[in-house]
Amino acid sequence: MNWKRLLKSAYPAAIVIALYFLTMLLLKVGLFNKYYIQVMMFAGINIMMTASLNLVNGFTGQFCIGHAGFMSLGAYGAAIITTMVFDGKNIPALAQTPVFLLGLIVGGCVAAFVGVLIGLPSLKLKGDYLAIVTLAFGEIVRAILRLIKPIGAARGMIGIPLYSTLAWILFFMTLTLFLLKNLIYSPYGRAFIAIRDNEIAADVMGIDTTKYKITAFCIAAFIAGVAGGLYAHVLAFIQPDSFSFTKSSDFLVFMYAGGSGSLTGSIVGAALLTVLPEVLRFLSDWRIAVYAAVLVIVMLYRSDGLCGGKELPFMRIKRNSLYDKPIFPRKNGKNEPAGSNR
């Protein structure tokens, strides 16, 4: 790898780091307050959730509408590790980071394991029916969490240490996007897209659709689990009801408003729609009504989402380096492979 390529692939990370330092500077100067920082943290978590949902819905074409279920599993998994297994508030500062990371990984793994379990029925069910099963899954997880006494049942879990900082969230967000970008825009990822576009054709072409569908569910669930872990350590309080279908539909809205099948869309959708209700706070009672109206108008006039199927340059891999064909067919019909002799 030469220097130029390294620099090129590193500049998105540089943007994130610059964003972080800019925020910290503004916080020091006094233009930003803690509230802004928290909104940014939620935006980062929502970007992770939306991007992972996009892997399942936007790129693999399976309809998962219970993504908050994975998030709750991750949140509870991580919170149990940091709060109950290790007494997170009373351990030396040096041990906090490993405990936090362990919690996130455990949360992610729990969610991923369940993700595989949910991926299995996706072999048998298609489209809307699969969507309903994932919805039911999210609600069952919530109902089960409400029943378990040691983790607070319906009252929720309190006393979770406040480990998540903006830096951690931005780090995991960048890592997620980097991994998803490299996964999706790779030969492996083309299998996902093939399944989305035509499952039978993909099967005929020798793609093991079962394997790829379960992989997609598993990876998305893992990321959602980690995001859930981060979420738990922002608020220091989690309760089963905060991971209801309303939350899942929030992520769906972020994803489709941003544009399905586009990681840039996930970033834009999640960031904009997390900030928008906060910006609209001056409307007080009318806030959510206006937000909903904006959403409907966006969907009516830009049905493909804000970034429908397109990516910013740094969110994709240069096509020529990997494939002959573009990932998204062009509209003007000039879709010939670069190497053909026609």
Partner: protein, 334 residues
């Protein structure tokens, strides 16, 4: 956003700190009269689910989209009834209304909610009819949020729950040890009449055969001279009207109306529609009653279980019959 969780009446978890009472309650659950009592509650809740599920299933069968805003039509129906009943307050005798006035109130609520259904379809869903289905679904989520939060922001409605007026004189009958009120009898009967009426409308009338034709093939139906837009508008109108009846049924027995009441009822009725086989009218009725009865029985054991049992039944049934009880699996053609 907070959405209130829905718990049916008669399920107060007061037995938690009284272990002795709890065990006797468990024993009571096996007595015939108690089972009958649960069955009555189940039928009553089931008729609400079935009426809503019919709306979901008809819209799905004809347009092919999941109308997530359908639960909110129920809320509009119930809130609308509240305000219409206020208009007729001069007819109020001893806290109840004469039968004729009740009929007028219900009819007005049905017409109004149906009209709102038609309006929502024309504004939000019609432009997206040829777009991918998920787009319409997200729009439906947006519409649902709007329908909940717009009335919430209006000063004369607001977020506070209101007590629903008693429309009928409440008379309590005893039947094999179980008690049933006149409201419950009237509401279950009303739901049954509406459902039978709908079944005949779809299967025996000309407009019904138009609806079935559109649900089979929109383009072919249009070629045969059927006005597809009109049929779809009518479907939304009927869905809205049924939701209004469901709202009145629900609010008469659990007499509280507020703007978020439709959210969970909507989700559960949708589950009921899928359970029965979405797109099939008999399936929606069956699914609704299965959901209602099983929910009441499970709630008698544990209130959280009562909430989850519908979803568990759904997953089990879908794993055995992937298209629901009545649904037919369509083979994908290459």
């Amino acid at each position: 956003m907070c959405r209130l969780r829905f718990t049916p009446a008669g399920t107060s978890p007061s037995s938690a700190n009284k272990p002795q009472l709890c065990s006797t309650r468990r024993l009571e659950a096996f007595q015939l009269s108690t089972i009958l009592q649960y069955l009555i509650y189940g039928l009553q809740l089931g008729s609400v689910y079935a009426l809503l599920a019919l709306g979901y299933t008809m819209v799905y069968g004809i347009v092919g989209m999941i109308n997530f805003a359908h639960g909110d039509f129920l809320m509009i129906g119930a809130l609308g009834t509240f305000f219409i009943a206020k208009l007729f307050t001069s007819f109020n005798v001893d806290g109840t209304y004469p039968m004729l006035i009740v009929g007028v109130i219900i009819l007005m609520a049905m017409l109004g909610t149906g009209g709102i259904g038609v309006g929502v379809e024309a504004i939000a869903y019609r432009p997206l009819r040829n777009k991918p289905r998920m787009i319409a679904l997200i729009t439906a989520v947006g519409v649902s949020m709007f329908l909940e939060n717009f009335p919430r922001a209006l000063s004369f409605i607001g977020p506070n729950p209101r007590s629903f007026p008693t429309l009928f004189k409440v008379v309590r009958y005893s039947f094999l040890g179980a008690s049933i009120t006149s409201t419950q009898i009237i509401m279950i009967t009303l739901a049954a009449v509406v459902m039978v009426g709908l079944y005949f409308l779809v299967n025996k009338t000309k407009i019904g055969s138009q609806m079935r034709a559109v649900s089979m093939d929109k383009d072919a139906a249009a070629l045969m001279g059927i006005n597809v837009n009109r049929v779809i508008s009518l479907t939304f109108f009927i869905g809205g009207a049924l939701a209004a009846v469901a709202g009145i049924c629900y609010a008469s027995v659990y007499p509280q109306v507020e703007v978020y009441m439709g959210a969970w009822l909507g989700t559960k009725s949708f589950i009921a529609a899928v359970l029965g086989g979405i797109g099939d009218i008999r399936g929606a009725m069956l699914g609704g009653f299965i959901m209602g009865v099983s929910e009441i029985f499970a709630t008698a054991v544990n209130s959280t279980l009562g909430y989850a049992v519908g979803f568990i039944i759904l997953i089990v049934i879908l794993l055995v019959k992937p298209a629901g009880i009545m649904g037919k699996l369509t083979k994908e053609k290459v």
